[in-house]
Symmetry: C2
Subunit: 411 residues, 2 copies
């Protein structure tokens, strides 16, 4: 019995996806400028996005193809000096572009095992050097100085990881199918579908902002965790207005609403429900214990050294910067895959982020220690949600209200 | 009976080619920095070059993948504003890199028919905008502020043009074979082969510089041409020392030695021995008559309108800016192909260039009208050499000496 779901051809879905990224994601305006960062394997999609952007009236589309193998080569073939080297003017071009009002569109699509076998110390040195050099740009981006969005490209190395044992061509096709589904690119009118979805996310976000919870309580298998929320926290998610007034969607797909925890008010234990992929390493079976907001114990079944290295990046790496709620029935979760990519996996389950908080998650528009805001060089999401997890909202007076039951919204 | 010539595997030849570009082309120094510009289809070669550069001790390799289809999209899908737009800070990053001592390596590999059917006025607007924006960088490059080199990548669209009617895969393989051969990448010790070749080019160049000819006399089928040389002309070719003292080879392959003609002292007729490819058009059967340095008559079998338009660009377009000597037995000529790419075609035959002269072809390091230097917006090479062409050197006192006989060196 043929269904209607996949009535569109691959080419139509790909064009839909390009249109969504340009029209909904960055919402490029006539006369606007676009910086597109894409994996070097994303040539076809990058060309479609470029065409769509010019047809939307773009004055400029600047495409940067990214080849992650070159990053690996630096770590495996380069001298120590190469590992640590970042040019002084590294951030300048992007700062120029931000000042010029460019929109930034990034296509993720990475080999989750890219850095397998590479010296962990070198990876750490490189990550830190890049984090420091990128900070001025990151600050502008997290303040939404300009509109930006992140989409995806299913390169073979990634598809292979999501669908192990499947021939490359088929794995890529299946990953495309999943991306089209969770991004609603397989709908006849994907822009209208996104309008409806964004309205629902806005309803949830506005409800949570209205309740002003002091804390959230997470209960599930291996998890009994109280996450205090920052003073003056703001729930965000779905569509965003950048400082230039343009409303876009920073992540395609997106099914999360999220805010800033209080850096000193997190207590209890949490067990990850999905592996964390960080620094080219799969860290599975994470179990963490918090005291007074700080990670005092963290173990994992694999990738323990990388987990420890992450936590030792700086003091803020042991505190939380984000708590995000996602229903267990979200499209990404329904596909049932582990994507080894934050853009997807974080939209499949409730998650926490170690490290830096976002300015926009605060009423004052700034991460401040006195409000419980956390700062760090890192921001790493890991998943603790499932259909077995309940979430309560705890009011300032201690009163509890159901927020999620069995992984679904309870209001 | 198997020969020894192709004893190396494709992978070995590709690695040899990467090594040649890094060690001979830009001659990257330990601790050096490399900017690599490559067609987006050159991923495998770009990764090999990057690995080779890091192994040579590079502190930094920054690879920019270039996708010419995006340039076409701007012209066909963009508004007028997009066609004319170049960011104000366009040249800044490269100027930063030049100041930081980066070496620049460029891989050519273009679809000769890329802009077929595109509005010619739009192409003109775009070319001019880019030419103006690139000028500060171009000046530094032509003064060899840093060492740079150009190699090639046989993308399918180009290979298809060189080997029409041949399936893509085979056309690319055949173009690779040709590139390996003319670049000596198919030799067991290609670096040693280049050392020997550069010594030979230096011998020819030094001989010609020592003779101080007032003019060259070209004789062959349909050609009887006297090309006066500029006052204080300098023969160049082969290896070059950049201002930073590093000696590299700007073109791989390279088989030419060349200097500046005197713009007012060219007389006689010349008949092209190969088609000229310009502005997406094949101009075949060119016959030109010079009087007092100026083209007074120019006809061709095909592309006459483009030839006329080229000559009418400006006054300097009817005068010569370069005369280059290449033996008829040069490797590119021996392959017997027309490459539709100057890097190759100009190394197949004696050629002349209409238009702008090079500063480095003058003792004073500058093109000056009083020395007979020519200026123009164009610089277009066209081939007049073959195994039937003789070249005499004419001394100031009128004495003649053989320079080439039957297309080969005669000294």
């Amino acid at each position: 019995m043929g269904g209607m779901t996949n009535a569109l051809s691959f080419e139509q879905k790909l064009e839909n996806y390009a249109r969504l990224l340009v029209r909904v994601g960055v919402n490029l305006q006539p006369g606007g400028k676009l910086h597109l960062s894409a994996p070097v394997g994303a040539v076809e999609l990058a060309r479609l996005i470029t065409r769509e952007a010019y047809r939307a009236g773009a004055a400029e589309v600047d495409v940067r193809y990214v080849d992650e193998h070159l990053d690996r080569s630096r770590l495996t073939d380069g001298q120590d000096g190469a590992v640590a080297f970042v040019p002084e003017w590294f951030a300048e071009e992007r700062l120029h572009k931000i000042a010029d009002g460019y929109a930034f569109l990034t296509l993720t699509g990475n080999d989750p095992d890219l850095l397998g076998g590479v010296n962990a110390e070198r990876i750490g040195v490189r990550s830190k050097a890049l984090a420091i050099a990128s900070r001025p740009v990151g600050q502008k981006m997290s303040a939404f100085a300009v509109n930006w969005s992140i989409g995806a490209m299913p390169v073979a190395s990634w598809a292979r990881k999501v669908f192990p044992g499947v021939p490359d061509g088929e794995a890529v096709a299946r990953l495309w199918d999943a991306i089209f589904t969770v991004s609603r690119a397989d709908e006849a009118d994907p822009v209208a579908a996104w309008d409806a979805h964004l309205k629902q996310l806005a309803r949830v976000r506005d409800h949570l902002n209205g309740r002003r919870y002091a804390a959230l309580q997470f209960t599930g298998p291996g998890t009994d965790l109280t996450v205090g929320l920052a003073d003056g926290h703001v729930w965000a998610g779905g569509a965003w207005a950048a400082q230039n007034g343009v409303v876009g969607v920073p992540n395609l797909p997106t099914d999360e609403v999220f805010t800033a925890p209080h850096r000193d008010r997190v207590d209890g234990v949490a067990t990850a429900t999905k592996p964390l992929i960080a620094r080219g390493t799969t860290i599975s079976g994470i179990r963490v214990r918090f005291e007074g907001g700080r990670v005092v114990e963290a173990t994992s079944d694999t990738g323990q050294d990388v987990l420890t290295a992450l936590l030792d990046t700086d003091e803020g790496a042991r505190h939380l910067g984000e708590v995000a709620l996602v229903p267990a029935s979200a499209p990404v979760a329904r596909t049932g895959h582990l994507y080894y990519d934050t853009l997807f996996d974080e939209n499949a389950a409730i998650h926490l982020a170690l490290g830096r908080a976002y300015d926009f998650n605060f009423e004052r528009g700034k991460v401040r220690a006195e409000d419980g805001g956390n700062d760090s060089l890192i921001h790493v999401d890991w998943m603790i949600g499932s259909a077995q997890v309940d979430v309560d909202g705890v009011r300032a007076d201690g009163e509890r209200e159901p927020v999620m039951r069995g992984g679904e919204w309870a209001f």
